[in-house]
């Protein structure tokens, strides 16, 4: 069966679920067993939309967020007041089931807001990374910083500025002359679809007004990994301040070696290479204000990659990208809301032979939609998305209507 056939079938299945859910056939709440020590939850979202010839909404080589059935199952096992084991598995378009999260949470002092998490842990960086589930996202698409595939790869690189400029807009599937010679997708500024592996420490004040998190992980924010491929970890931190109810201000930072050892070897022509110079450094700032029936969010992510230069014209250091997004949601009446997001992703300019251009084609996205709760845990979203890309060989403008059915427990 084709991917599209699967999605159509999934929609039919979800519509059946929607019909029967009213009779409470499916769980409306998390399933708790063993006296609440073991809890299971789930998220199912089916999204239907037209083809995306400009690959604006792709998250990897095969998957578009506008044509996707995503199934998540999560579990939490509590062993006393100090230890929990948390896990999540995910399947996209009924494909392979992949572990998304698996970590132990340790709370050394139950009276203090201090936790240590180790394993495949949730992202430290950014605000959107913790609300990527369909029922937490008021729209169907994702902010560009967390989803849009740039022409940056961790296991391959352009030899020169000319080669990089030639690939503008082709982040969905591209091949470079240095490093892995396969066709693969590029990375987003921050990946919302894979989690990194390492150790994370989180602390908050007694009132919860101030909190901070630091993490040491094997990948980087744009390329989270289970196994380190360059021998050096990433350091990331996040700080949150809640001065008054409804206002959250956050700041994030991350820095770690980005380029794989194999790609660095290919670029430098040496077996013994130091990858610590080829880093990704990211900064983020976010602001959320909510009151009564509305929520407003603003987020800014800046990322810079340092790569070796193989040939002239040289790649400037760093190659940076800046993403900004503004999002709002307003509830019109019980169970019905409208939402909108305006998003822009820009890139620093580089100079090739006879031309100076952003190293990837800048993208702007405007999305507006509404959500209607068929029941508390069954949400129907419809949205309209306008995408515009300034440059590159692929489609410049794409407009999409899309619908999504979300079920969670």
């Amino acid at each position: 069966m084709t991917g599209w056939g699967r999605i159509t079938r999934a929609w039919m299945l979800l519509l059946c679920i929607a019909g029967r859910a009213g009779a409470q056939v499916l769980p409306a709440e998390p399933i708790a067993v063993a006296g609440g020590r073991l809890t299971f939850g789930g998220d199912v979202s089916a999204t239907i939309g037209p083809k995306d010839p400009g690959f604006f909404n792709f998250t990897d080589y095969n998957h578009s967020t506008l044509r996707m059935l995503r199934v998540d199952f999560s579990a939490a096992a509590k062993a006393g007041d100090h230890f929990s084991l948390l896990a999540e598995v995910r399947s996209e378009n009924l494909g392979q089931v992949r572990p998304y999260a698996l970590f132990v949470r340790i709370r050394p002092w139950t009276a203090r807001n201090f936790d240590i998490q180790a394993g495949r842990v949730p992202p430290t960086f950014g605000a959107f990374t913790r609300r990527t589930y369909a029922n937490d996202n008021p729209l169907i698409g994702y902010p560009l910083a967390y989803q849009y595939m740039t022409t940056m790869r961790a296991n391959a690189l352009a030899a020169s500025a000319d080669e990089l400029l030639a690939k503008r807009s082709e982040g969905w599937a591209l091949r470079y002359s240095v490093g892995a010679r396969t066709f693969e997708g590029g990375v987003p500024l921050v990946s919302a679809f894979r989690w990194d592996t390492g150790v994370q420490v989180h602390a908050a004040s007694r009132s919860g007004g101030v909190s901070g998190t630091v993490a040491v992980t094997s990948g980087t924010v744009s390329n989270p990994r289970v196994r380190d491929d360059n021998g050096r970890p990433q350091l990331a931190g996040r700080f949150e301040w809640r001065p008054v109810s409804g206002l959250v201000a956050g700041g994030s930072w991350a820095r770690g070696p980005f380029l794989s050892r194999d790609a660095a070897r290919a670029a430098l022509g040496a077996l013994d290479v130091d990858t610590s110079a080829f880093t990704q450094t990211a900064w983020g700032g976010d602001l959320e204000y909510s009151r009564d029936h509305y929520v407003l969010r603003f987020e800014l992510v800046e990322s810079g990659w340092r790569l070796p230069t193989v040939a002239a014209p040289a790649l400037p250091q760093p190659l940076s990208a800046l993403a900004t997004s503004v999002e709002g949601r307003y509830k019109l009446r019980p169970g019905l809301y409208v939402a909108s997001r305006v998003d822009h992703l820009g890139f620093s300019a580089i100079t090739g032979t006879g031309r100076t251009l952003p190293w990837d084609a800048p993208v702007t996205r405007i999305e507006a939609g509404l959500g209607y709760s068929l029941q508390r845990n069954l949400l129907l979203k419809v949205a309209y998305q306008h995408n515009r890309r300034d440059g590159g060989r692929l489609e410049k403008i794409d407009n999409f209507p899309a619908a999504q059915l979300v079920f969670w427990f």
């Binding site: 709440e29 998390p30 708790a32 006296g35 609440g36 809890t39 299971f40 939850g41 999560s74 579990a75 939490a76 929990s84 948390l86 896990a87 999540e88 998304y100 999260a101 949470r105 709370r107 139950t110 807001n113 201090f114 936790d115 998490q117 949730p122 430290t124 990374t129 913790r130 609300r131 990527t132 589930y133 994370q200 989180h202 602390a203 908050a204 009132s207 919860g208 909190s211 998190t213 996040r238 809640r242 008054v244 109810s245 409804g246 909510s290 009151r291 009564d292 029936h293 929520v295 509830k331 009446r333 019980p334 169970g335 709760s373 029941q375 508390r376 969670w408 427990f409």
Partner: protein
């Protein structure tokens, strides 16, 4: 008839009329005294209405092991969630399925409170009559967003901070499931009745419905969305009826 006879007859009629007026005045005074007194007067005039009311009492045995709605596994959270109290799910509501005539008169509307404390609605179950306004204060240091999608009374109070309160008036009978839009594990029930013949069980499952006019009624016990079968209960004139229930 002579003038004397006519005069005697007139005086006799006046005496009867005066006696009748005294009787009426006495009756009115007795009635007023009976109505004004907190303790029913021992007269035959005021006794029936107060003495006729009975009561139904008993116990509800909840066999089903109801568990509080747990948090969803907080896989994306950076730390442990707040420790919250477990709501008392063994509290049941016992009510008359069919209420006596006159029980549906318009209610002036009282007030009730459902607090939001440590990510829990307190109380977990509220039983009110139609016309009651329920206040939803926020006693936590963070936002809550109370809402309901029930057909009886859909509402969404939006987000509001600690120390604030918003209210909803319930004008239709039915069951209203209440949630928080921010904390998915927060939930509660509001049972809205068109009559006053209901009672909430205590910690031991005991209940008592007061002031029930004599008659035979169907009585139902309800717990966490599950209702028992209706049981017929006869309330004697001024007496007490007993009925126990099991909710599975």
């Amino acid at each position: 008839m002579s003038q004397a006879q006519r005069s005697q007859s007139k005086q006799s009629t006046q005496r009867r009329q005066a006696a009748a007026v005294r009787s009426v005045l006495l009756f009115v005074c007795a009635l007023i005294a009976g109505l004004c007194s907190a303790v029913p007067a021992p007269s035959a005039v005021s006794a029936p209405a107060a003495a006729a009311s009975g009561a139904i009492r008993g116990r509800v045995d909840v066999r089903r092991t109801a568990t509080a709605v747990d948090r969803r596994p907080g896989v994306a959270d950076l730390g442990s969630p707040l420790t919250r109290p477990i709501p008392d799910l063994r509290r049941s509501v016992v009510y008359l399925e069919s209420a006596p005539r006159g029980a549906f008169e318009p209610n002036e509307g009282g007030r009730a409170v459902m607090d939001q404390r440590l990510e829990t609605f307190v109380p977990h179950v509220l039983a009110i009559t139609v016309g009651t306004t329920v206040d939803f204060p926020n006693s936590d240091k963070f936002y809550h967003n109370v809402f309901s999608l029930s057909k009886t009374r859909p509402f969404d109070l939006g987000r509001y901070a600690t120390g604030s309160s918003k209210s909803v008036r319930f004008d239709r009978p039915g069951i209203v499931r209440v949630f928080c839009d921010i904390h998915s594990h927060m939930n509660a029930f509001i049972l809205v009745f068109s009559h006053p013949f209901f009672a909430l069980t205590d910690a031991d499952g005991r209940y008592r419905i007061e002031n029930v006019p004599p008659g035979t009624y169907g009585v139902i016990a309800w717990n966490e969305g599950n209702a028992s079968e209706s049981k017929p209960v006869s309330v004697p004139d001024g007496g007490l009826a007993e009925q126990d229930f099991t909710v599975r």
